[in-house]
């Protein structure tokens, strides 16, 4: 399933990277510990988190993540957005909780490991 389809089906907000929606996503990971994500998130996956500071962008680059999804209406900080544009990282947002979002993604066929 492409990011565009996920964004449309779950009515996600696009904070950064609107031009990179055609990427296909099959797996996801949910964590607020950056080292956990670095160590265990699937390459090219979707990352659900509450962390909105700039360092999430580098984590996404390191793991070639398809997108970061900020939950519970959290909005990326200004320099997070700038870094995301620079490094071509997609940041999405939702008012859903992390658990609710993961459940919806699972229904769409996005799996965990």
């Amino acid at each position: 399933m492409t990011l565009r389809e996920i964004v449309e089906k779950l009515d996600l907000q696009v904070h950064a990277g609107a031009g990179r929606m055609e990427v296909t996503v099959a797996r996801g990971y949910m964590s607020d510990m950056l080292s956990d994500v670095i160590g265990n998130a699937p390459i090219g996956g979707l990352w659900i988190t509450m962390q909105k500071h700039k360092n999430v962008v580098a984590v996404a680059v390191m793991k070639s993540l398809a997108a970061i999804v900020l939950v519970q209406g959290r909005v990326p900080e200004e320099d997070t957005l700038r870094a995301a544009e620079e490094e071509e990282v997609v940041i999405l947002g939702t008012t859903m909780s992390a658990f609710a979002l993961a459940a919806r993604l699972h229904d769409l066929g996005i799996a965990g490991d």
Binding site: G19, I38, G39, A41, M62, K63, E85
Partner: protein, 317 residues
């Protein structure tokens, strides 16, 4: 412009292009004293739907197929182009940015604009939406080729250079507590490795190891030097930092052990996974530390044909 705003790279390209880069220079013109019947022949012969009207090299008007149709639907008496054309037409300057030209197309809905030299005000070309698309595609093709050539050259560097020993050293200076630049060295390094044509699974293992090592220095040390030695069969990352050091190196290698203060944990670091993550990605690791002086970490990853494929997922198993 809402459309172009969504495509950042394309937009950047647009800002590099000027009207002169994509306009057509050998522009077909007609004179105001020619007849509408002649116009009909000219439009048909050149398969165009409009053209500038020029007296000498002076632009005096625009005439289009719509004007011709209106003329053909009237009483049928011959008329001069000069009487049917749009006089004092909107025009573009050849040095204008292409984005601004596109905005003008959007705002007016005209299909073509005559292009004038900004100094002499003489007619030097014509711009249509088709020419804009053609010019954009050409620019994109060129940008794509340039990146391909860069990548090709880099990935063949070891084959192209002749020497007894072939190694590349890339070095980054790290500054403690500089969260603004944290992760920058690893991000740049990942791009370099891609250009060097390193296998993607190896790039991801190195990316994880270098990010964790870089963050350890940024979080805990005063400063550090991260060095990558890239050889045909292996890549060795060595990070030497000046800082508090690690009291119990063996404990630090265990998952869950962390000396991180609360503010570090709040940012999502300090889960005691840093060094274990590095160990998972490395083929060989050496960690030496002296309390009050600093820490030296060496990570070796084999890249030759038989390189370990375990850890394809960045060490996660």
């Amino acid at each position: 412009m809402a459309l172009t705003a969504k495509f950042v790279k394309t937009q950047e390209l647009l800002f590099e292009l000027r009207v002169a880069d994509v306009m057509r220079r050998d522009v077909i013109t007609v004179r105001p004293d020619q007849t509408m019947t002649e116009l009909r022949r000219i439009l048909r012969d050149h398969r165009i739907s409009g053209t500038p009207v020029a007296a000498g090299d002076e632009l005096v008007g625009m005439i289009t197929i719509a004007d011709l149709i209106a003329f053909l639907n009237s009483d049928g008496e011959e008329a001069l182009i000069g009487d049917k054309m749009t006089a004092n037409p909107d025009s573009l300057f050849s040095d204008q940015l292409l984005v601004h030209a596109i905005q003008q197309f959007d705002a007016t809905r005209f299909g073509r604009f005559p292009v004038l030299d900004p100094r002499s005000r003489k007619l030097v070309g014509i711009l249509t939406k088709g020419l804009i698309i053609e010019g954009m595609l050409r620019a994109m093709e060129q940008a794509f080729q340039e990146e391909e050539i860069r990548q090709y050259r880099a990935s063949h560097i070891f084959e192209d250079m002749v020497a007894e020993y072939k190694e590349i050293y890339l070095t980054y200076e790290l500054v403690g507590r500089d969260f603004d630049r944290a992760g920058k060295a690893s991000t740049q390094m990942k791009r370099n490795l891609k250009r060097l044509g390193i296998r993607p699974d190896i790039i991801h293992r190195l990316a994880v190891a270098s990010y964790e090592a870089e963050m350890n220095t940024v979080l805990y040390a005063e400063s550090g030097v991260m060095e990558f030695r890239i050889a045909p069969e292996e890549i060795v990352m060595r990070l030497r930092d000046r800082g508090p050091g690690i009291a119990d190196v063996e404990k630090a290698k265990q998952p869950g052990y962390s000396g991180a203060p609360e503010w570090v944990r709040e940012m999502g670091f300090g889960a005691g996974m840093g060094i274990p993550n590095i160990i998972k990605c490395a083929d060989r690791i050496d960690l030496q530390s002296t309390v009050g002086v600093g820490t030296t970490l060496s990570v070796r990853i084999f890249t030759g044909a038989g390189a370990n494929r375990a850890g394809d997922e960045g060490g996660g198993t």
